[in-house]
């Protein structure tokens, strides 16, 4: 029973084997299971266990199911959490997995690219891209909806790169690290992603993985990974006779450097049903930027030219501010004393109160995110069994307090806030690879929900969701539309993803035209739009035309896998509108 030696890992408890004989799988299930698995699962005799990767805005980690428990992998410097950056100093770029910065300030030389998770898949009109302009490397925007220009300063030359490339370099290092430790090739991965990521951003993450030779088995919203870990912990408690088998409702709040997410999960019997998800692109980076501007009010003017000296000053300020914010989690006030060069020196005492005041808006946003998530889940604070706060910002006292006060509960203590997400992805990796555990430790299932609504543009510039936010996946839903003009023979189906009522304020996923509609008065042809999301989160949009009195589509049905848009999707919707106006519009069918 060596398997029972769980020592290091707080989230695994000893097992009572007799307890669940019924659930226990026969001893040699691994090989036979693989023959009956679906397309997603490994087809070799020994299924490869997918590793879990948490690529954070500032830190990342890798974990894997080692046969009896989840294990975090360490790099050669014995780190479980590695800084997410890539330096372009030499000919061969290197990342935070293998490379050790000689000094924190090296991060600020202009040659190091970080915060790529904030930049990936965003266009240059995005406010998040604009706020990234204060990073100590080049983020150039033309503000027309194309991808921003990103470059690292190498020997006084701005060398261009892309967030996908930076991420891929980093992922290769993670892969090499995992391969050398696990002594096998790594191909399948489960990655955690922010809730607010659009499907276009997900394709960019998949692209980066493909560049790194990795195949994405699942992209898991971060709080749902935490929810899976929670489900496993609850199962363990039952096995240890410490918990009841009743349904437990938990709120998970996850705030890292770049993103802030909330989820409500209902857990019982190892099944985690995600009831609601909510997320925004706000995180520790925003605290930092607010503080930098607070300490140096003319920050933007001073550093607009972005020469080597400006980058250096900006970097010095960043390090000093970051340091102060960390200290303010444990101290009531902190002294900042930093020489930014060019006769610019900041010497200031900052209190925790001041920090909370400067960032008041962010705290308010976090609060409304939690309230919205509870509301969407149709759950009252009193219904919650546990409240889990994880992520890099979870140590900020104000964050803990606001979650406690909204949820009227003390916080759950059974998880390491920096490792919970990666542990969850590793569990999902094992489950999605078709691995079973004789002790029932992998008798788990996450039933995901859609984080954003998906629908089409209709009724003018309205966004009509077909699959609303928080719909359980896999999902298939449909809605009937009709033409707006008499004898309209074509309609343009423009698919968006998001939450705002105006279609063009949501993410564009793609578009296609249905032609050959028989001439008829407006409102007569029925255009049925069906959206299908499978368990791997692949979205397909189907559209067909039915004329009254017939049950068969009059033209071949269109089936389109989305997203289809690539770079430049920021101005695409506008161009479509300019080219076609309202001639190819649709509207929802009203009650007859």
């Amino acid at each position: 029973m060596e398997l029972l030696d769980f020592g290091l890992f707080f989230f695994l408890f000893s097992l009572n084997v007799e307890e669940f004989e019924e659930m226990a799988e026969p001893a040699y299930t691994v090989a036979s299971d693989s023959e009956t698995t679906g397309e997603e699962k490994s087809s070799s005799a020994f299924p490869e266990i997918a590793i879990g990767i948490d690529i954070g805005t500032s830190q990342c980690s890798v974990a894997v199911w080692n046969g009896s428990q989840v294990e975090l992998l360490k790099n050669t410097r014995n780190q479980k959490l590695m800084r997410s950056y890539v330096t372009f100093k030499d000919d061969i770029p290197s990342g935070g997995v293998s490379y050790q910065l000689s000094h924190e300030h090296e991060m600020l030389s202009g040659a190091v690219i970080f915060n790529m998770k904030r930049l990936i898949g965003r266009v240059d009109t995005d406010p998040v891209v604009h706020s990234s302009k204060s990073l100590p490397f080049l983020v150039q925007t033309l503000d027309i909806g194309v991808r921003p220009f990103i470059a690292a300063l190498v020997n006084n030359v701005w060398r261009s790169t892309t967030p996908e490339e930076v991420l891929a370099i980093f992922l290769v290092e993670l892969r090499v690290m995992a391969e050398s430790q696990l002594k096998r090739p790594i191909r399948n991965v489960v990655l955690s992603i922010p809730v607010s990521f659009s499907r276009f951003q997900l394709t960019r993450i998949e692209r980066a993985c493909a560049m790194a030779g990795l195949h994405v088995l699942r992209l898991m919203p971060e709080p749902t990974a935490v929810a899976l870990l929670y489900a496993q912990q609850q199962q363990q408690m039952i096995h240890d006779n410490m918990g009841s088998g009743s349904e437990k409702i938990a709120l998970i709040f996850n705030m890292g450097a770049g993103y802030c997410d909330a989820a409500v999960t209902a857990t019982a019997g190892g099944v985690s049903q995600i009831k609601a998800l909510a997320g925004i692109a706000t995180g520790g980076e925003d605290f930092l930027q607010n503080m930098m501007r607070h300490l140096l009010p003319n920050f933007d003017n001073l550093f607009s030219s972005r020469g080597i000296n400006e980058i250096k000053s900006m970097g010095l300020l960043r390090v000093a501010t970051q340091d102060a914010i960390h200290k303010l989690s444990f101290e009531e006030s902190v002294q900042i004393d930093v020489d930014l060069g060019n006769g610019l020196r900041i010497c200031k005492q900052v209190s925790r109160e001041e920090f909370e005041e400067v960032n008041q808006k962010i705290f308010e946003k976090c609060e409304s995110l939690i309230i919205q998530c509870l509301h969407d889940a149709k759950v009252e604070a009193d219904d919650l069994t546990d409240v889990i706060v994880v992520g890099g910002c979870s140590h900020i006292p104000k964050i803990k307090n606001l979650v406690k006060s909204v949820c009227k509960r003390e916080l759950y203590k059974g998880m390491n806030p920096l490792e919970a997400a990666v542990c969850g992805t590793a569990l999902e990796g094992a489950v999605a690879s078709g691995i079973s555990d004789p002790f029932g430790n992998l008798d788990l299932l996450t039933i995901q929900a859609t984080p954003l609504g998906i629908g089409i543009r209709a009724n003018g510039n309205s966004f009509v969701p077909i699959i609303p936010r928080n719909t359980t996946m896999p999902a298939r839903k449909e809605l009937v539309f009709t033409t707006v003009n008499d004898n309209q023979t074509e309609v343009l189906i423009i698919v968006h993803e998001g939450e705002t009522e105006k279609a063009d304020e949501n993410h564009l996923l793609g578009y296609f035209k249905i032609s050959g509609i028989p001439p008829a008065p407006k409102g007569v042809p029925e255009i049925n739009v069906c959206m299908d999301i499978n368990a791997s989160n692949v979205l397909r949009v189907l559209a067909g035309v039915i004329m009254p009195g017939s049950q068969q589509p009059v033209v071949p049905v269109m089936e389109v896998r989305m997203p289809t848009v690539d770079d430049g999707h920021g101005w695409c919707a506008e161009a479509l509108h300019r080219a076609y106006g309202s001639t190819l519009d649709l509207m929802t069918v009203q009650k007859k």
Partner: protein, 172 residues
């Protein structure tokens, strides 16, 4: 795959549940109106493909999908849903399902786990089996369910239910 996707899709046309009518009836705002209509549509599509004529054969079908008794408590329904999910969800260990079974299970669960929707559905079963009850709807169910949800209950509910019901049957 395409054809199997399409047949239920077109079987639902024209949908008797239009967002507007649902909206007036639904106690919850916005997104739920669309969801309810879609659920109704997919319920109809599921049943319509199984059997077009015999209404009686449909009786209890959502309960049959979840493999529970008509008198099952909310807890029993939840437990049944979870154990079926562990078998039919495409991510479940050893599952070879493409997800369609799970969607059906999920839709059955969505109706039966919501006291309001379940009451409406139970009545539709009664009507379909030509066992129309004059005494409104089975109140007993409500008491066994979460008390909180009863607050959502409006005094006009009973009337709306019948409007809804007529619409439901008329569209069939």
């Amino acid at each position: 795959m395409l054809s199997s996707l399409l047949s239920p899709m077109y079987a639902t046309l024209p949908s008797p549940f239009l967002p507007k009518s649902i909206h007036a009836f639904s106690p919850n705002k916005t997104s739920s109106s669309l969801r309810t209509s879609a659920q109704a549509a997919s319920f109809k599509s599921a049943t319509a493909t199984e059997s077009n004529s015999a209404a009686v054969a449909l009786a209890g079908s959502l309960y049959e999908i979840l493999r529970v008794e008509r008198t099952a408590s909310l807890n029993e329904i939840k437990t049944a849903y979870r154990s079926l999910a562990k078998v039919y969800h495409p991510d479940a260990n050893g599952s070879s399902s493409d997800g369609r079974d799970f969607i059906e299970i999920r839709n059955a669960y969505a109706t039966l786990s919501d006291p309001t929707a379940r009451a409406v559905y139970d009545m539709s079963l009664g009507v379909r089996a030509r066992r129309v009850r004059t005494r409104a709807y089975p109140i007993r169910r409500w008491e066994t369910d979460q008390r909180r949800k009863i607050r959502d209950y409006s005094p006009f509910f009973a009337i709306d239910v019948w409007t809804q019901m007529l619409c439901f049957i008329g569209g069939n």
